[in-house]
Symmetry: C2
Subunit: 316 residues, 2 copies
């Protein structure tokens, strides 16, 4: 098994995670979480979304969050933007990176963004230009690239065509491939990413994975094995799937980091420090979906067995 020696984790909990929380999280709490995350060794945090306040009231404080966070050197603070207006706001707020999202399938695009994929691509072009003028790095994410709850798995040639246009026509070099609702499987991830990496060698590809059907880390492994070195994940596994109430959300950052470190792949994240933040986030929102937060890191041992201390257990 040949794996990359190191990968980059983009923490998306404050955006993809918090946006699913029904009760408003006070801005001060959000800033505390972001500041704490920034001190764990992460190199990028997607801190918010500059979306219309009525669409996502939870993130109505996007500007305030950006203004109040305490920048840690070496950490990139990016934000999602749904349209040009959002991009202008994000740039004015001082983000290091703007992330735009385009759905690959028409049904999802109409459902989520109320526009066709074609219109979303045109908008992504305008946002790329805004970012270029402002000298802010732009990234594009393809939602439902690995599965759409309405239409199933889109044909590779459709995804390839959209990535090609984003890269060759619009100038994007940071491209995220999203399994938006957790429908991907490792064979699909491997095949798709292998082809994309070969065809677009100048692009840095990210995998954005959900754990909806417990395949999150298996899909991550499949991407890792063909050379993907950038992954999105969310503190305490926050997030969710609007099409499957109660289902798991994004892969949990602590689960991702634990698996990668166990395999000798570096992330720069200090797992012990990170778990303290994850526990605080779980307490803040009142839930979590994370194996390592419950069970502890794989490397944490009980030490020598003392017969008096533990009750007998049935084997296996």
């Amino acid at each position: 098994m040949v794996l990359p020696p190191a990968v980059t984790i983009r923490e998306v909990g404050p955006r993809d995670g918090f946006q699913m929380e029904p009760s408003f999280i006070p801005t001060e709490r959000k800033v505390e979480v972001i500041d704490a995350l920034a001190r764990t060794g992460l190199r990028e945090i997607e801190v918010t979304s500059f979306v219309h306040p009525k669409a996502v009231p939870q993130l109505a404080d996007a500007e305030e969050v950006m203004a109040r966070l305490h920048r840690v050197r070496g950490v990139r603070y990016s934000a999602l933007v749904p349209n040009q207006r959002g991009a202008v706001r994000a740039i004015e707020a001082g983000v290091d990176g703007v992330n735009v999202v385009v759905s690959v399938t028409e049904s999802h695009s109409l459902s989520n963004a109320r526009m066709t994929p074609e219109a979303a691509m045109a908008q992504a072009g305008l946002i790329a230009r805004l970012c270029e003028e402002a000298r802010v790095e732009a990234g594009i994410g393809f939602a439902t690239a690995l599965g759409c709850p309405f239409e199933g798995i889109p044909p590779y040639r459709v995804l390839e065509g959209m990535v090609g246009r984003a890269v060759e026509d619009l100038g994007y070099v940071r491209v995220s491939i999203a399994d938006t609702v957790g429908m991907a499987n490792p064979r699909l991830v491997r095949k798709t990413m292998d082809r994309l990496l070969a065809q677009f060698s100048e692009v840095t590809f990210c995998l954005h994975l959900h754990n909806t059907r417990n395949m999150g880390l298996a899909n991550l492994l499949a991407g890792l094995e063909v050379g993907v070195t950038w992954f999105d994940s969310s503190v305490a596994g926050l997030g969710g799937c609007p099409f499957a109430p109660g289902a798991s959300g994004n892969v949990a950052t602590e689960d991702v980091v634990n698996m990668l470190h166990e395999m000798g792949v570096e992330t720069g994240v200090r797992l012990d420090a990170y778990l303290e933040v994850a526990a605080a986030v779980r307490d803040l929102v009142g839930h979590a979906d994370s194996g390592v937060l419950t069970a502890g890191p794989s490397s944490k041992l009980l030490g020598p067995y003392r017969p008096s201390a533990s009750p007998g257990r049935v084997p296996s």
Copy 2:
């Protein structure tokens, strides 16, 4: 990605799952679950454990379960046995297979079985002879083979030595490698199984995986990629880890089947029928730990998007 075209699932929910349930499940309910599981296309079910009733009161009805279940042609009904007495009981009860467990690490062996691995191996030899005389197939499972909560990951040469002894001296040809507390990682699974499959080509190896740190399906994928074709899993993800209260248990059969089918690997299990049983089991015990039971199979689509039917969602 070269994967085997088909694999065998051994359902361990009625044994590994039910044994963790604190309230006694009436024998009639257990039999209903086993009978329903047997009609989903599974080829093997570990139905109970012939352990001392005081050690695991939940499985005190082992004989009765065996006597009352309605055998389905083509389904193998096996049981775990902790010792010779259990093996005698299991054989008398008419099981098709006897599964004996030996812990690889001394700490876990002393903690779980109150004997050294050496003594457990000697006992496994006696059980093999009992089974041979009775013409009942015997299998051996190595607990903590991929990680022990007390001692960490045992050296490969220790596992290799124990497997070698079981196969060459004791005559076992069905060998299960267990990640008893969910400490394995894909690199370890791949390396270990690759070596074992090469060294013991006459043996059918099984992987028994837990999802404690959300790596269950990633570990399964790693085994599958080197040619493992037999996996344990548990209905509704029942089971658990006595060392990590609240942590996930065995990989859920429905999650395993969903991933395998999505990748084109056959299991013989009819997922829709299986999910009905999993839902009934969840209702019976009052909990579950399963992605597919919550979110539905990956292949289940919503159909064409109708703007009036779905509220808009923020992308990604």
